[in-house]
Symmetry: C5
Subunit: 359 residues, 5 copies
């Protein structure tokens, strides 16, 4: 039975014609059901059986995903519902009291914990929320907060990357023999607000029961987000690609112009500057793989260094006394003596390199 | 009935001629009304009806708006008032006691929550404030703090941008069948202190009732702020515009001077430096749209790269042996051979590009 | 009556010859005065009259002033004293017990709040301090902490700026009809430790009573601090001034040297680098006014850009075929052809510009 | 006896055929054993003997290792077990109640503290976990959190470094005569999630008993992690090595090209830029030793400075009037006049220098 | 009597042959001494006399010293001991119970405060530690944490600086007539772990009694630390010194080489880059004095600017038509026309300047 059903039931009841529910009747119900109530013990009568707790997730927003630290920040609420048979009453005998709203600290609660929090192992949510108790003993508890979970980033295809983060939730302190979580498959998105940097691709809940020396009952919620790449394309990718296009131009610069060397070095320095820019948004991790952008930048720096070396040798050959022989491999490096139609060949190689990196 | 009315009533009473209100009488009233009082139950007698809570917002300042994180920080107070019929007395019988001031934890309170906080779902305000109780059972409670809410920034027209942030407040834990918020339209600005970076354009309150599987009663307060652009114009916009004006000058530099190439590259590098400056104050988001400043900078970098490419070809043509033919499109690129009156044409194109970007 | 008077009285008493004050007598006094004591009610008998609370400020240090965020951090203590007639006894009848030292939570307290905190509206000080109670019912309570208040920075004359921050303190929850603050004019500096970056110019306390729909009783403490400029002069101002002096030198560089253009551009780039340095210590605000240093830097960048433009035209004119006419305004720009005595004229203009900016 | 044994026992029992354990029987056991229970006193009967507390460590992940601050962040749980003879019962007499699950605050606990925390001396874990009590009086308590411990980094071989961090845990407040820790040798890794930047090399637990004026009983857990170097090799090491290879090329640049000096200086400046990059990830400590990367960079800067100096003298010699004699040591510095085969010699020296630094 | 004596006594007793101390006897002692115990009153019988509290400091480590913020972070414990005559018993009558270990909140405590904390005025240590009570009524309480104190940095001789930080501790809320601190001279270093960046030079404790209107009893602990300079020498000082050595080389560059100007400007720009590096680790304070490194860098920038100016005039003179006269002071600036032996003179001046700055 899911939470949504609970609310449907709640709404159905609330449209009935009962206006006879006074505060004194509510107080009577409260005093009756809470007599001899102890919050220490699981609500189930046969303590050898596990209590099933239904859990569903209301995702409210994606606040941020920090690739460098590997932390996702998700405002969200968990809706939990279970049966506490001690807290049941007959509405007919108590002036048609349809439900009680009491502070959560008054009853036994299955506190849920994130298994991979970024800040510390504290139960999710504050201690100040309210729970709703229905005549059958059904408890509905909404708890939550800004859930900050570690999530290993995969920036291989940055800035076209998709991140898959799993929120694993557990009732810590109780074994699966005592409390068992049952997750709703559909993550509720009725309150979801879109994020300006990340697009929500999919979200799904499921539960898992592990065995071993320390068996656990997990509820898991997968949240898959996809980066909106426009900003990074405009401010990092495009400038780098234009810079790469400049690189082979050095071979067309006339040697007499005396600017070949500074051209090479300035382009090389610019790549180094862009490398630091890219590093700021990249995690320092080598797993699962390093971003193609990093390889691409390294490749362009190496290419740039080689064209600097080539330029030195061309200059050296050019200024050699005429009686010394210029090696053949240096001669063919010097494009400025050839015609301009070779230019397209070089550009083509560069563009192909760019294409290959991204495929 | 609004809060302001409450205070007017309060002031009216306080100017009456009663000096006979002793501490022992106040204690008697306190002990009388709080006998058998329970903070768990809604104060309304017919628990099937919703309790209406009036809410008004006192905006004290705009502390900051962080465009990169998308967080607005607003010191402010919420004034709430409602009827708790259990806490009423006849002033005539109790030595004209006009009101009680008690710690807020003594009574039932409709704790309010921000729906989009930047730190966590905790009720607004501390647990240490005082409430005022009037003989009719009217409660006046001021609560608040530095309200930090997420707010998606729209930096399209940066630094001439206007930000619209909505604070949505809800009484979490109670359905609209139980507690209903009624917001005052006018945000109270009597304590407002102006901010040095942002100008308050408008502020307005309204309430909203959503239906669906999980109905909610919201109070919303829109705060619209406008950036004071002078600082950014002086330290970012003007320097970039002067740099753009330098760009076309490269065509007037004589080829013999041997400084064309370094001119091009230095200007290109300068744009890259300014790009990093602008990036520091820009969110990394691609929604709702990327700032015009980013497009403008990308445009200037592309222009700059093209003039570098053009310069290479001009130099190559210039140093060509005389028997080779210089292509026509390169000839017309070389302005230094023409007269200076063509300069204005280029400047005009650049300025028009600048104008177009900002309109 | 001020706090200091209280302490003088206290010291006077403590030098008397009574050694007969035993712990059991102190316990008797405590048990007597706290019988039927309630911390909820204002200590004054006639609840229609306001209670006067004397407040004085002990400034301990200026920890920091963050110009960018606009936050001042002041370790300090507030000394409060008032009369609680319920807590009085006759020393003669109780073994000459001269005072009681009890935890602050045992008595009614006028909790004070900062109106412009940088972190949140919580009462000043922890809940763990002690209060001293004197036989007359006089209460002396020292509370405080590291007071972090927002304070709009005025960096117009940076680094020769003076900041004026006002700490406004209020007894939140009580109207001026209930509790009224009376501030000591002199801020106590006996524990003041000088700060390495800021010099305390003046500090003064006063109280203020506002009327309106929500009347308030404020105690205000003005703290005026002046920056010690030596560090910023050495690391920012002097290097910029030396760079400005280099600017007009470009006109003396011989055109044949082939280094005019790179001179211009390197100086321009250096100004951009220093602009980023200055920006780090400047608030992004445009109110009350933008720092002269920012205008000065913008001015030098503009000057530098113009000398770059002039250099381009001079070079273009210089390399023109002899049959074309060089415009007159370009001829007069080229100082390298004139004698060196014109140098002083340019330097003079630059220095005058510098002077004007700072006056 | 280890924790794992405890869980094995627990599991064994739970597969038995008893389904007769009701909530009322659990409540009876609880009420029986907790009668007259006091949490202040050590559970052992003979208070002159030490209580042995078994402790084992479940390492969940390595969140981060901050080399600059010297802080390791390890999510992990500690499993503690000990005998509290007051909390024992005969399952046969109490409806086969196999264990109790109670909040940890109900019983006496040996709170554990980290001796080198990065944030403050607070006991590990929150106050909200559950403990399991077995009929024999055996207590099993899982506590933990994100353990942030200082750990002196050894970056000598960066980025091929291995870090050895020791978590030292102590029951603060009790001497070894009162409580003694007994650590499990094997750190439990069944919940371990691999980190993208660090590889777990080994982890081991042991206990230690110190004597002296203040004897202590420590449980220690060594965690050895190894950096995955790929990212740093690609973004820092390889670019630096390519830059070093460029350095000796200056001697092949023809003197007439007029670009020797700018080549030298640009390479020198690039090293300075990379030095700042490396500094960002390096601790500022001089102990145990400074990273080879820093020495290597200093070496390359010195080499680069010397080749700049050499270039100046070569240029000075080259432009000398023919009647002055060029010193011999300058002549042999100028490789551009010799043939290209000397190039390999220089490259060899540079590569050997690189090799030597890393061995 | 010092704490160490207490522990010696404790150890002596614990080696005696009494094994007859049962938990029930400990409980009896506890119940006896805590009957009618009140934590509000000072434990001394004659309340006119001050209670002496012995205090000693166990320094555990130096975590960090932040020069920019002026905050030292010292993990450490304070050992306090005093007499509480109410908590005494005759061991012979109570089964030889040698001491009690109880939570600190059960007894009266002299809470200690740091007078210059960096975070807020809260008492040192948590509320969860244990105290030991001996039969004579002697109390031993260990409290502490990571003590973060403000400490004005003196970076005059950076990176060879020594910092002297004083931790001043006070029992806030009690006058010296009530509680008096007596500090142990020797800071206990048995748990001290060496820091990788700072070397502990000395540490000493003493107490101080101030008079005035608000008399205070302080315990002070001086901690003197010395920076390990190796890292800063390698990464900042040595590169700057090599750069300074390059500066005078400009006069040896042949004028024809066309690289004089760019040499000057690149060196000047490099100094600016290093200035920003040094600024990052320097406080922005002008008191007690500005670091010699800052003066040194300013000096080198000025020197560099002057050699740029000189170079401009030399170039101007060199390219002058032959009929104009070159001023004498410019002629003597041009070293490239003289022989190389003048070089040593310049280097000498530079090195002497370096020497002078550091003496």
């Amino acid at each position: 039975m899911t939470i949504n059903l609970v609310f449907t039931v709640l709404l159905f009841i609330s449209f009935q014609y009962c206006s006879c529910q006074t505060r004194s009747e509510v107080e009577t119900v409260y005093n009756t059901v809470f007599t001899n109530y102890s919050t220490y013990f699981r609500p189930i009568w046969n303590q050898s059986n596990p209590l099933t707790v239904n859990i569903s997730f209301y995702l409210i927003a994606v606040n941020s995903f920090d690739e460098v630290e590997g932390v996702i920040s998700l405002p969200g609420m968990f809706g939990l519902s279970w049966m506490d048979e001690r807290l049941s009453w007959n509405p007919a005998s108590y002036g048609n009291v349809r439900y009680l709203t009491v502070p959560q600290t008054h009853i036994w609660l299955p506190y849920i914990y994130l298994t991979s929090p970024s800040k510390g192992y504290h139960h999710i949510g504050d201690d100040e929320y309210m729970v709703k108790i229905f005549p059958t003993g059904m408890i509905v508890w909404m708890t939550g907060g800004i859930i900050k979970s570690t999530c290993t980033p995969d920036t291989t295809y940055f800035p076209f990357d998709t991140q898959n983060c799993t929120l694993t939730v557990v009732v810590f302190g109780y074994s699966p023999d005592e409390v068992r979580l049952s997750a709703t498959a559909k993550v509720d998105l009725q309150f979801y607000v879109t994020n300006a940097e990340w697009e929500l691709v999919s979200s799904v809940g499921y539960d898992e029961l592990t065995s071993g020396t320390l068996p656990m009952s997990f509820a898991k919620f997968d949240v898959v987000i996809k980066r909106r790449p426009a900003y990074f394309v405009i401010s990092i990718l495009l400038p780098i690609i234009f810079l790469v296009l400049l690189n082979p131009l050095v071979y067309f610069l006339p040697i007499d112009s005396g600017e070949r060397m500074s051209f090479c070095l300035t382009v090389l320095l610019s790549f180094a500057v862009f490398m630091t820019l890219v590093d700021d948004v990249m995690p320092k991790s080598s797993e699962p793989s390093i971003a193609f952008v990093s390889y691409y930048l390294l490749g362009t720096i190496v290419l740039s260094a080689f064209s600097t070396i080539a330029t030195v040798f061309i200059l050296a050959a050019y200024h050699k006394p005429d009686d010394q022989k210029v090696p053949a491999f240096i001669q063919c490096l010097d494009l400025s003596k050839n015609d301009l139609h070779q230019f397209t060949k070089f550009e083509q190689i560069t563009i192909e390199f760019t294409m290959d990196t991204y495929n």
